[in-house]
Symmetry: C2
Subunit: 208 residues, 2 copies
DNA sequence: GTAGTTTGTGAGCGATCGTTCAACTACAAG
DNA sequence: CTTGTAGTTGAACGATCGCTCACAAACTAC
């Protein structure tokens, strides 16, 4: 009983997410969000309690749909895991020449802005772990296919790939040209072929 | 003639910079900045014209003092350039156990927030180039000292190190533990020892 | 129909935002 | 001293912020 809800959660979260990705948490005002979602303040607050609640829901949605989707497509389901890692990187800036510049990664942006949105730190962590474990999965499968040496430390390499990827996203935001972004993508492949990515040799480095 | 200025530009910019690093451009209000700098709104606007003017001055100061200082200490003046690269990375999160958590890198934060502060993009670019050319300098010197193979493509490796470094700073902000941050630092050294960082092999990768 | 319940609407709240400006103070020159 | 100038002060402006709430609308159960 009662009136029917006229808006769809998926659509509202998608448009809120788009705004947060572009402008950040502080940069997206409630008036902006009202215009983007087509909802009025009363309904927004009835559904999400606060601006931070809406942001948190948008971040969860980002993790579930965008991050997991991309990780599955490029890393977990890729036939060639190494090529998948490459395409995972390039897909972050090769947006197919669409009209919109780049929405930015909500995880990267939120991690940096986290002082202003303290409650969402766990959500950011979860998203980053999804990416990292996706890298680890691809690396393990690459080893099984003899595309990468067995000595490669999968865990460490995955962490390094995650960092390189986050750095790539920062540089995308700073307006770095495509050639350099491709160079950085090459770096991902350089990383996982490096000899000293093993635990043993990392220890040797430690003694410097 | 006229009254003497009672505040020092260096001190004011330093405290404004600290606040901007922690909270970002939008997160630092004028009231916060007044408290941090000890200045009153009239004087602030007399000196810097606007909040963005103050931010821009703080960013320039950050580039000149903090970025250039660290690049010189760890990369340009280091006896062992490879060890310098390592310490450049670790110094981003090994803050010596000081009381303050981490102020964040103004370049990283601003790059991500750039939609809200459009006029400072060139300043961010300049700072990032300072770091990148610092890496290039260290790599070149390392080659001269036979610490790294001649086949290493210095330009490309410098770009990749910059990306990895920016990613490290993102992960620092997300609360990543020190062990993983050290692993990422190991990644920097893995990168510059990789065989396929040369131009020739990068081209081979391109064909995937 | 009426009663009960859920959702949508939007005016408007108090707080805070970045910014301005007229009054005031401290100095140098004559 | 007076006059002119550069610097400081802080009250207060209009705009916008996140958010509330009384009311209207749409639905079910009876």
């Amino acid at each position: 009983m009662g009136r029917k809800q006229v808006w769809e959660q998926g659509e509202v979260l998608a448009s809120a997410m788009r705004l947060f990705r572009r402008r950040g948490y502080l940069g997206a005002s409630l008036r902006d969000l009202e215009e983007a979602t087509g909802m009025h303040p009363g309904s927004l607050y009835r559904a999400f309690s606060s601006k931070e609640g809406l942001f948190s829901a948008a971040l969860d949605d980002y993790n579930e749909r965008v991050v997991e989707g991309r990780v599955r497509a490029h890393l977990r389901d890729a036939e060639d895991p190494v090529a998948g890692i490459r395409s995972f990187f390039t897909s972050a800036f090769d947006t197919g020449g669409g009209p919109e510049p780049d929405p930015g990664c909500l995880l990267t942006n939120t991690a940096v802005e986290s002082f202003s949105v303290p409650h969402v730190a766990p959500g950011v962590r979860r998203g980053l772990e999804t990416i990292e474990s996706g890298f680890a999965d691809a690396l393990t499968r690459a080893q099984a296919q003899r595309l990468l040496p067995e000595e490669l430390d999968v865990e460490k390499s995955a962490a390094q790939l995650l960092a390189l990827y986050q750095g790539l996203l920062v540089l995308v935001r700073s307006g770095t040209d495509a050639a350099k972004l491709h160079t950085i993508t090459d770096g991902a492949l350089a990383l996982i072929r490096a000899r000293n990515a093993t635990a043993k040799q990392a220890d040797e480095e430690e003694q410097r």
